[in-house]
Subunit: 345 residues, 2 copies
Amino acid sequence: MPNDQQLNDWFQERKSRLSERNAGHLFERICAGDRTALSAAITLVESKRPEDRSEANKLLQLCLGLGKKAWRIGITGVPGVGKSTFIEAFGNHILTDKSKLAILAIDPSSNVSGGSILGDKTRMETLSKLDNVFIRPTASDSTLGGVARHTREAIILCEAAGYEVIFVETVGVGQSETIVHSMVDFFLLLMLAGAGDELQGMKRGIMEMADGMIITKADGENVQKAQWARREYANALHLFPPKENDWITQVHTASSMTKEGFEDIWSNLQSFFQAMEHSGWINENRMRQEVEVLEEMLRALLQSDFFANEDWLAKYHEMESKVKSGEILAYQAAEELFQGFKSNT
Amino acid sequence: MPNDQQLNDWFQERKSRLSERNAGHLFERICAGDRTALSAAITLVESKRPEDRSEANKLLQLCLGLGKKAWRIGITGVPGVGKSTFIEAFGNHILTDKSKLAILAIDPSSNVSGGSILGDKTRMETLSKLDNVFIRPTASDSTLGGVARHTREAIILCEAAGYEVIFVETVGVGQSETIVHSMVDFFLLLMLAGAGDELQGMKRGIMEMADGMIITKADGENVQKAQWARREYANALHLFPPKENDWITQVHTASSMTKEGFEDIWSNLQSFFQAMEHSGWINENRMRQEVEVLEEMLRALLQSDFFANEDWLAKYHEMESKVKSGEILAYQAAEELFQGFKSNT
């Protein structure tokens, strides 16, 4: 038989575990600026248990109701460009103006389960020690919409918690740039000087998505090279068709060691948000992003009966081979598959 | 009572009308180089009647079986860039090397019903008079995959008819560039000198799709300006990540009046096809294009029950408003719509 103390401990622990999964409790604590609650809330939205999902939805609804907004800034660049060092140094820099900064990292290739990666804490040593900074990687997830959904929901939670600036960082290489671009207001592309092999890992089309470009490591012997690169990229950007919001992408050089360029980058960001909040573009763009998610997600769900079924997937691959070998045209192949599927369900 | 002659006429006409819709007949005549049969075949694949579709599929199957290949070249550029004049002059130029040229024009915004537009004949006056040139606009179509499907199928028919080069031209402004890019081997972008307002109508991202770029109207007072533009674009392209097939996009200047640049452009095209046929990229790329169509088309069909239903479309728009006003997050909205749909069908 457990004694009273043990029973009490058990009860307290159970209560606190439950409150970690209760929308109302979490909401109150998040609004009060409790970082542990924010972490627990992100774990809740990442959970696959149906009862957690329903609490998560309630919590998100409450947070949306607040209508709080942060500056959502995406940061990307090939490995080796110095993303972490830049975020560490630049994050410290902007905390003279802004009081709370959240950093969400997206890495679709990683397999960490919810919670913090030790790596992130050591990557950003000074930021991770600050009370007004929240750092969190998004757990990888194979469910529909997985990583993107978790990060979008984490953004809403961070906004409710009063974070004024949210960096969404791509950690892995690959498809994550587009995902990040689809959930931020400003997309910052870090580049290395020298436009040769460094570009190999970069996705085509990414330069046109950038709202700002930074040539990193502009210090010591690199300064001259970085300035050349800056001019070259600025000329190239000039040739792109104008953006729908008429924003003109600036190219800066920066050093995370000497802080060179930080003032300019920060004032460029401030101009952007001032102009775009004023013109209403920020809101329009967020609406458009949400509507795109709605459509994509609904489409994915509507296809899931077919693509989540092993038999049909096998039939699909069979037809794919025929299409590849030129036996049948794709349209006809698609119609045959669809008619088979329809008459069997 | 009709007399024998009338009966005979009626019978002949009926027979010829039927043979215009018979896969076997059309196939034979297409292979024999009969342009009227090719026209009739394209009209057949554009037809919405189910019995025509089944003959169309048979015909396409027969044509695919021949395994004949043409150089598929997409040509695009903003209105005013001189596309028709270029195609007229350059088409004549390449007919010294190649014996048969087909020109398919895509204009999703037009409403012409199958058959030739008078405009096309006058746009390309000398080409339209040549026996070895086939010109055909794609009829606009609101069905799933519409215009793209018709043009892809027309390409197969033209290849079976022995055309060695097929230009797929975008006529309208807008989304057609991506459609064209997805069905050709080489994507040619025509540009005007002066990188200002002319770019307004150009889709972002299109420069990175180009396998070749041409600054048009490089004659008279324009020569200098065109050469400057050429250099600027060449520098800009240099900054893009390399293409998967390692092809380096060249920028040429050209004049449809003086034929300046035509030799270089043609030899650039020849180098491309030589290298890409040799490396196997042409085939790989066509396979990939077909598989993409298969997937897209199947996905579209799987969603059609929902999106083709007025009630569900209305519910979708209702939910869209809620998402826009920030009442509900997109993921949750999509799930609610989907669950409602599933439990009702």
